[in-house]
Structures are given as structure tokens and as C-alpha cells.
Symmetry: C3
Subunit: 373 residues, 3 copies
């Protein structure tokens, strides 16, 4: 079997994704492109990313429509077919086509839960605990910091004792990755501030930092990883403070905690590879960057592999809401991995058999081990 | 017609350039390489960039000289021929060879004006208003801040009511892109400081910031874009503060203003694509980076297209002073765009007809719409 | 002769490396992979970088072992053969196979000195003076700042009057490249602090900064370069402050000093090229990044050549401790340079004869001139 064949046939462990959610027919007909951008774009521009165009290609395959002139009528025809699919069957088919065995799914976005998601995919779904959603629900319910903190730790612990396989945080999009040290008294004061003007959204840097540090401790106690969104992925983020070099103080503060840097930290992929190659407790997921970067997927994979040990790289789709993202991620990731490894073999850098080991590790074995699946 | 043929034959709208200026024969014979670097280099090093070597290649074509051994004598022969050209005829021929229909030309650099430039190019030339030159001339003439500010706004408004199609700023090279908020009292105090020691060059961060914010407001009022130099482009710049992620506070403060990030913000191209993909009011020009990066032009175009909507990318040459830069930019940009699109089609990411749409948009349609030409 | 043949046969000047040191048989059998990472990794991960896998390939060639299944037994067999080599003969053969004529070797790491290194390589070895090691030894010996400073300057001067060809600093890994200005009184106070709690390791930012500025002055006096570690290269470094854009204030403060930015400042290669293309006194070495980036070596070389004059680029291996790093660096660098230049010729950017000039300059002539060898 060639490397490419191995890659094409290995069942995937998708270490970072979100449930597919119901879309109305109007959503599909009028707003479908918005699920293929992470920006806050005008719709006329959102339609013109390579990622959305590739999604139209997936629809053309699914509905057996000839691309023809590739004009607006072509797009409308595809969206019309897409609008009226049976969501469960369509999702099941799309994800089955990716040969994904396990999906680790965020429980905080979108509104559809991982449990509901299980009803329409044959992949095994394990939940990830989103810390900001948890903290926000606990701020609703607790007037005192001590009670909040106890409940936070209890809920993280019981999740990891139960079916949850990891924690995850979007602190990058709330206050940046430069998570600072904060003592309990400051956190208590921050909590009081937050409660007094509580609007349902936790953005206070000191309180977030405290939550993250406590989460890192709990993760270490349960030998479970914590995933950090990094790089692009939300228009709320400040594009500079999602660079993973901002996270190193936190990484160094928790050497016993396995930290997963998400999204290849795109566009800071080189920095992410460097951080992964430097700290023993850091792992690197390449979701979202792939498929969003589309033709750049090989550049992303190749760059990550320049320094990072291949035992620390993870496949992920960051599929959310629409199953086409799962399809695009699997396709582009497999293709990029195959091209990178074929090139390394051709250049005499690694042996063919080692390239096969890399492929199996990155596509599944690394995640099976890290998340103890 | 193949994608490459479409790209080779589409007339360009060059959204960012400068007039060609008269060079003395001595300038050409002894200092020609300095127009192909943006650094403050020793001449022995300036001669050894790929950009200058490619310029010699353009001269060899123009003067029909065989490259032969490519040694110093070859260079001297080429420069001798170049030194004695008829500047008007030579410029006209060079730019005609690029099939450029429209050039948007900075009125502040070099000393030759856009109006003079029109006399020796068949392309339509529209002027861009350079804010720093304008502000400096107004500081010369106005002792009071209020009068300065009124004159500044009046001049911007009358320019945009007239033939000017956009504003442009080199604030990146004066104090960096981290343009801060500044209230009018602070700006007034800054103006007084500047006036008291006025030396003709505006570098005061607070006054510059105020000028930029007022310019963004005027640009929005007239539905005209404002161009920001970003990335490399001037030895005055601090190489860190030309990263466009420093500009996001300003971008967010003016959601109604169309902001054009220039130069692909090289080497921060990934960050520039990310910013363009995130904020609806940001557009990305790839001038200067192309042609300066020469063999890296495909990397620049390809990276920009990873996230940025193709409706927000703009062709530009940043040609200045010597017409060879126009020739090199058009050549390398077309080649890089063709290679990127051919690759995306071959990989099944976009259809061939969509690739043609992208080509037409990037080379001309996006600029025609944005600048309302 | 083709460009590739020229590149394959040109004798190298390695402008940045370290002596090969004795390894015990146990070191080789149990810890060999650790010499192929700069991270603080678990051994199970350190084994899984492309750089280490390529090193196994070098061993397979040397010991004529068929890669076969490329499994753990293959690795053990190779390491067993490697453990028992005659170090002198093996090192001599490895380095001879790279056709390296001159090696500039750090005198501060590892414990083996450049003089000892000469005994088992046919290349000419010239020492580089590591400033931090020197300063630390002088802090041991001097209680007063004035005496320390005098001794520091004397030792730098006598080194450069003698066989030393350059200074080098690892300040990037002690306090970052953002070397600030510091007056003598502050440096004196810092020295007193350092002495009072002296533990043998100099990390005090103000004292380090003062040492660096004095070193830049001495380097200029002797027309000798100073090398700055930049980019990845030590787990002590903060991954953000090794970006060479942090060094520009220091570069600008010493325009008469030739500054060599090491390691291509990986992953900040684009920034390093930009800095090199902007400041006349900056040179760029690509060691460590090559070979560590392995399949990414062409990306590194190609990116560096986008802006940087080819007369300012330097070959280096950063080989240290094990001779295989010298072999890998020479192989990957030559291959990457050949591919980059072949591509530029094929695209009509430079002539074939100019590409040959570039190859000779980068592989040897630039270093011969810069270090006055």
C-alpha cells in the first residue's frame, strides 16, 4: 500500500469539532456561505472564499450537479438541493464518507449538544467541556466567589470523571492567550465586579485567567488535556493575541498539564510548531486552518512538521454546524499529509515505512493515546 | 481560453503606484539598483537582490542584449543603454507592455506629480492623496490647530470631491500602525509642540493619530477608501510595528471606512489575510511585495488567498520612479496568480470558471468597484 | 556545470557551529535523539522529528544498513553501530563528506574546545567568542564593576587580535533580543546585584544589555562581526522575544558593527529577511533552521532570498556535539539552495550565470569576506 493509500484508508480520530446543527431552509438558501468563514463579512465577500467554493464542490458531488459555468445559477441550484435534505441522513452520509471513527465535540457551541449529535452520526462522539460556557452558567447561579470556585472545580472534575475527555477554552477570543498569573484575592475581586454588572458574557481578564489556571490544575489531576483555541477562529479575537507564543507563561506554569494548541494557530503556524517542539506538554491540532486554508493546507501541514514531533500532531476538523466542513477537512488534511510525506520520502528524509507510521499517528494513534480513548 | 491566458490578457487596474520620475544618466549608470530595494543598503549589496537582477533581465529584453555570462560588463552595457533612453517614450512603452488600463498614483512621492505622469503613459492616472505630505504643508501654513484642522478636512474633502479616488497614509513608517485614540485637546497640544520645533517632518504620534482618525471619517463620508502602507517599504519603518494586526483598533473604530492594507503587509502576509478575512471593511493590496519577493510571489499570492475573500484582493505594482517596476510587478503577479489558480483547479478546490472570475476580480473588477472608477 | 553541480562541489565555509564532543556509548544507545531537537521533550517525542529520522538515514548510509521496515529494531541496530565508532575517525569522515573547508566554532558550548575539535577534523577551525560564558567567568573573578568591564573589553579585544574571528551572544535566550539602552551607572548597580547573589548564570537584563553594547563597540573597532542567536535554538528562550524585529534598536545603535542574525531566526524567517534587506550592517545565517526544518529547508532558503541581498546570506550548520548534524546541514542546505536557484532561473528571474554567483557567494565567498578569513 502506498503512503497515500494508507492515508486515504485510515479511520480518523477527530480531536476537535462541534455538533452539526439544524439549519432552516432559508439559512441554506440565503446565508449558507457564512458557515465557511470565521469573519464578520459582507455576504457578497463571504461567498468568495476558496473554502466556500470548495463546499459548493462538495454539494455538486453530493447532488450530482455538473459544475458547468460555475455561475450564480449553479450556486442557487446547489443550495436549493441542500436546503431540503434530510438533515440526519445527510449528516450521517457526509461524515461516513470521511471515515471518521471518533469525534471529540465541544459542548458549548452550537446549541445542539454532543448527545444529540450522536443521533445522526455513526462516529463515536465524546464531549469536550467548554470552560467559558460553564463559568458563565455558574456565575448566573452563584453570588459568592468561593461557591463559584467550588462549583467550577466540581463540575470540571465530575465531567472528567464521566464521559468528557478534555477541557477546552476560548480565552484567546475573550482576552487573548497572554494568560497571566492571578492570586485568589484578585480573582475574588474580579468575580465581584463581574457579578455586579453581569450580562451573561465573561470577558474579565483576571477572572478568566483564574479559571484557566484552575482548569489546568484539574486537567493535570485527571490526566486529561486542555484545548486552547489559538489563531483565527472568531471575529471577537484580537488577531495579535491569538499567537501561541503568548501562551508560554501558562504552559510553563503547568508542566503536568497536556495543552493542545488548536487551529495550527493559523497564521502563526511556524510559531505553533516551535512551541510544540519546545515544551513537552504541548500538542498541536491543525483543525480549522484545514480546511479553511484549502490550497494552503499542504503549507500548513508541512510547516507544522518542520519542527514539531509527529507524535504531537493531531487531526481535527473543527467541523461545526454543517457536515460539509467535516468532508472538506478530511479531504484536504489527507491530501496535504500525503503530499508532505511523499515529498519527504522522495527527498530521502524519511523512509517510506516511517512515513506510514507518521500517517497513522497523526490521523489517529496520537489522539487515542492523548485522550485515553 | 485557459486561466493563464485570461490572466495574461486582462487589462490591469493598478490600485497603488507612484509616478515615474526623471533620472539623470549618472543615476542610472551608478545608482540604478537603489530603485529596486527599500533598504538603506550598501550599493554592493543592493545590486544583489533577485528584484534588481530581474530588472536587468527586463533591460536585456528591452535592449535585446544577450545575457551571456551575466557578469559586470553585461550590467554596465545594459545600464549604458538605459541611461540614454527617451524617458517619455521608454516609460510609455514599458507601461503599455503591461496592459495596465488605470493607475492610482500617490501625489506625495516622488516629486513628479500624477498630472505630469499622465503625459507619458497611456494608462488613465488618478491621484491618491498622501496625508502626511498634506499635513506637513498645512503645518507650514497654519499657526493654530483649529485652522490646521479645518484646512486638513477641507483639503481632503475637496480632493475626494475632485479627481482624487482615495486617501493614503504612511503612518506605518512614521510611528507604526498601532494608531491610538486621541482626543482633540491632546491633538491640539501635540500640534503646538510640533509647530514650536517644526522641521518639516511630521512624526508626532498623537498628532498623526488624530490626522488618521479624521481622515478615516472623511473617507467614510465620501465613500472613498484609505490606503495604509503596511509591511516593508521604507527604511524609516520599525519592522515590528508595520504588522497589520497593530491596525485592528483603528479598523474597528471606523467600520464605515474602507481600509486598504498595502504591500500584502509583507512579511506579515498571513496576518494580513487573516485581518482581511475578519473585518468587512478591509481590503488587501499585494503591491511591492510583488515584485520585490520575485520567486516568492506565488507564496505571497497563495498565502493571501488562503483566508481572504478573493473579492477583497487588489492588484497593485507600487511602481515608483522607474517603469521597470511596473513591468516586473505585472509579470510576477500574473504568473503567481495563474499558478495559484491552476493549482486550486487541479486540486479540485475551485472550478475553472470560478478561477476565471477570481482572476478578473483581482486584476481589475475589485478595484473598479472599490474606487468607483 | 549545472547550478546543482556547482552547489554540490563548492567547498563550504560554515560560519556558525560548535565542536563535536565525546558521547558515551550509553548516550548514543539511549539518548541519541536528544541531539536532534532543541526542545525539552520527552524522549518518546524527541525520536519522532524528521530531523532525527533523517539522522537515522545518515547512519544507515554510514553503516550500510538497509532501512527495511524502518522499525525500532532498525533504530537499535543503527545506534549500536554508532555507539562504538572511533569518534575521531568518524567525525573526520563525516565532516570530510560535507566538503567543508572552514568551520567557525563557538568556544562556549559544548565543553570541548575549538582547539580540541581541530584534532579530529580536516576543516580549518576558527573560534567564536561566546560573550555570556566570558562575562560569567569574569563575574567569578572580579568584585568591582570597573575591573569587570576592563577585563571584559580586554578579553574581547585580545581575542579579536588573536585567532578569534567574531563575537557571539545568546542574549536572545537569556532575556530576549529586545536589548535596551543602559547607562553605566545602571550597569554598575546591576553588576552589584548579580555579584551579591551570584550563582554562575548571567540573566540580569541590564547587565546583559551593557555587555552587548560594549561588545558591539569592540566588534566595530576590530571590524569583526557579532553573531546573535535568534529564533528557536534553546528551551530557555521565550519564543516571542527571539524575533529579530526586537533587535532593531540595537542594530540601529551600532551602524558600524556587522551583526549576523543566526538560525534564519526561524520561524521568523520573513522578518529576518526583511531586517537583513533594510539595515546595511545585518547579515543572515541559516544554520540550525537547516537542517532542523528538513523538508522545509527550501521554504527557509527561498523565503530568506525574497528580500535579502544574496551577498548577505551565509551558510552555517550549527552542528554541535554530533557530526551527523554537519552532514544533514550540508545536504539539506545544498539541496534547498539548488532548488531555489533552479526555480528562479526557470522562471526567468535570474540568469544561470548569476545563479552560480549566488551559490558561490552564499556557500563561501560572503563568509570569507565578512570574517576576513
Amino acid at each position: 500500500m502506498t503512503i497515500r493509500e494508507t492515508i486515504e484508508t485510515t479511520a480518523l480520530i477527530d480531536n476537535h469539532a462541534h455538533p452539526v446543527e439544524p439549519l432552516s431552509e432559508t439559512d441554506v438558501r440565503e446565508r449558507f456561505a457564512q458557515w465557511f468563514t470565521e469573519g464578520d463579512l459582507e455576504y457578497r465577500d463571504a461567498r468568495h472564499t476558496f473554502n466556500y467554493q470548495a463546499a459548493l464542490g462538495v454539494l455538486a458531488e453530493r447532488f450530482d450537479v455538473d459544475a458547468g459555468p460555475g455561475d450564480d445559477a449553479f450556486e442557487r441550484e446547489l443550495l436549493e438541493s441542500r436546503a431540503t435534505v434530510d438533515r440526519h441522513e445527510y449528516t450521517r452520509d457526509c461524515i461516513a464518507s470521511t471515515n471518521t471513527e471518533v469525534i471529540l465535540a465541544d459542548d458549548g457551541f452550537p446549541d445542539t449538544s454532543p448527545a444529540e449529535f450522536r443521533e445522526y452520526t455513526d462516529a463515536d462522539v465524546y464531549p469536550l467541556l467548554r470552560l467559558e460556557s460553564l463559568a458563565e452558567s455558574l456565575i448566573d447561579d452563584h453570588a459568592e466567589f468561593g461557591a463559584f470556585e467550588d462549583a467550577l472545580v466540581d463540575r470540571m472534575a465530575s465531567a472528567l470523571e464521566g464521559e468528557y475527555v478534555a477541557l477546552k477554552t476560548i480565552v484567546a477570543y475573550r482576552r487573548g492567550l497572554n494568560v497571566g498569573t492571578v492570586d485568589r484575592a484578585d480573582a475574588r475581586a474580579a468575580f465581584a465586579d463581574v457579578r455586579s454588572g453581569w450580562d451573561g458574557r465573561l470577558e474579565h481578564p483576571r477572572l478568566l485567567d483564574y479559571v484557566i489556571h484552575r482548569a489546568c490544575e484539574v486537567a493535570a489531576d485527571y490526566d486529561a488535556p486542555i484545548q486552547f483555541h489559538a489563531g483565527f477562529g472568531d471575529p471577537d479575537a484580537h488577531p495579535r493575541y491569538v499567537d501561541p507564543t503568548h501562551l508560554v507563561e501558562c504552559i510553563e506554569a503547568h508542566p503536568e498539564t497536556s495543552v493542545v494548541v488548536l487551529h495550527g494557530a493559523y497564521p502563526y503556524v511556524g510559531q505553533a510548531g516551535y512551541v510544540t517542539a519546545t515544551y513537552p506538554n504541548v500538542y498541536l491540532d491543525l483543525s480549522l486552518a484545514i480546511p479553511f486554508a484549502q490550497h494552503g493546507s499542504e503549507r500548513v501541514v508541512s510547516t507544522a512538521m518542520e519542527l514539531a514531533p509527529t507524535t504531537k500532531l493531531l487531526y481535527g476538523s473543527d467541523g461545526f454546524s454543517v457536515p460539509e466542513l467535516y468532508v472538506l477537512a478530511a479531504r484536504r488534511f489527507r491530501d496535504a499529509l500525503a503530499s508532505t510525506l511523499e515529498g519527504a520520502v522522495a527527498d530521502g528524509i524519511v523512509t517510506e515505512s516511517y512515513a506510514e507510521t507518521v500517517a497513522e499517528n497523526v490521523l489517529r494513534e496520537n489522539a487515542l493515546g492523548l485522550y485515553d480513548l
